[in-house]
């Protein structure tokens, strides 16, 4: 055999072996993740979880998210757009996965704002101004107070409501449920209890469209 043929053959074989092993591994992994989510379906939604959209919708997206996570920030308008395009067919359940330093503080602020029916506005504002308060080397969740003040929120009430020990319980519960469901990264989405086969905008859109097609 010629030398260059030998090398080309080796490259082709190795790449083919890599690709098929990767394919087998991921499909097996996806199946086991799907079953795992099915077995732990009771961990998906808790009564305390914030919901957006039509509560009677037949497609439910559960999102484990962190206000300090950049990818969550990028997915936020995308999910809203999906909900707008399929008005009334989707509802979104927000679960917390505050993995970043200082994120639990932000979650408490958000939950306190929820008491004033300002959850969505404050969440949008957190994502918008994320670069100001959520630098990974120097997270300053306190900097968000200035932003809130600037937008004339009732800060004194948020500060008071944040002290409620029930909020820590919500965070702990969400973290525990996230761990059970294998939501180790943010954002993690489940659409009608099904995890995404791989991560990305298209995969989420496809999963949502499949569920809409199956339920409407």
């Amino acid at each position: 055999m010629k030398k260059n043929n030998l090398v080309i053959m080796a490259v082709v074989l190795l790449v083919a072996a890599f690709a098929s092993a990767a394919f087998l591994y991921t499909s097996q992994q996806n199946k086991s993740q799907e079953n795992h989510a099915k077995d732990n379906a009771d961990a998906l939604i808790k009564p305390h979880s914030f919901r957006m959209g039509n509560p009677a919708a037949k497609v439910t997206i559960v999102e484990f998210m962190d206000p300090a996570c950049e990818t969550c920030k990028h997915f936020h308008p995308f999910v809203k757009e999906l909900m707008r395009k399929n008005a009334g067919k989707i509802n979104l359940v927000i679960r917390y996965a505050p993995f970043h330093k200082g994120s639990d503080y932000m979650v408490k602020m958000l939950e306190a704002a929820r008491k004033q029916h300002k959850f969505r506005q404050v969440l949008d504002l957190m994502f918008e101004t994320q670069s100001v308060w959520a630098s990974h080397h120097n997270p300053r969740p306190e900097a968000f107070w200035d932003i809130l003040e600037h937008k004339s929120y009732d800060i004194a009430r948020i500060k008071k409501d944040m002290q409620n020990p029930a909020l820590q319980k919500i965070i702990d519960q969400d973290l525990a449920d996230g761990a059970r469901l294998g939501a180790t990264k943010t954002p993690t989405f489940f659409v009608n209890g099904k995890p995404m086969p791989s991560f990305g905008y298209d995969q989420l859109r496809e999963l949502v469209n499949d569920e809409i097609a199956a339920n409407y």
């Binding site: 055999m1 010629k2 030398k3 260059n4 030998l6 090398v7 080796a10 490259v11 190795l14 072996a17 890599f18 092993a21 990767a22 591994y25 991921t26």
Partner: protein, 141 residues
């Protein structure tokens, strides 16, 4: 003349085999990190740093055969081997836990390093590096 260019000599085969080991190891480590999503620990990273370039320099040396590649590949492989030996000593507990340089972040010595329940990744790396060094040393000037 024609016969001479067609024939594959021992040195070429040795370097080719070495390249094959380096490529399999590289693809394997990429499989662990990119497909299985195991985060490489710091010692794994150093072993990868000295493994990945071998795929390129050994391949270049095959066409046409350049035996001088041993001079360049051997030091790289030797340093990689040092990291691997250190990692194995750590993994099998010959170096105590509190001396390990990677207690923060991803542990270099926990169970995520073991494939199929019995095959530790550092051991695979050790075998690769030892085979490669042997092959390179066997290449005659």
């Amino acid at each position: 003349m024609n016969h001479k260019t067609q024939a594959i000599d021992t040195n070429w085969l040795l370097i080719f085999s070495c390249w094959l080991i380096a490529t399999i190891s590289t693809l394997g480590s990429l499989f662990f990190s990119e497909v299985m999503e195991l985060v490489p620990c710091i010692l794994c990273w150093y072993q990868r740093i000295f493994m990945f370039p071998l795929v390129i320099i050994l391949l270049v040396a095959l066409f046409p055969l350049d035996k001088n590649v041993v001079r360049y590949a051997l030091p790289i492989t030797a340093i990689g081997l040092l990291f691997t030996v250190y990692h194995c000593l750590l993994f099998f507990g010959f170096i105590p836990e509190n001396l390990q340089p990677c207690s923060q972040g991803v542990s270099c010595a926990d169970d995520s390093m073991v494939l199929f329940g019995f095959l530790p990744i550092p051991l695979l790396s050790l075998v690769s590096y030892m085979i490669m060094i042997t092959l390179l040393l066997k290449t005659r000037k």
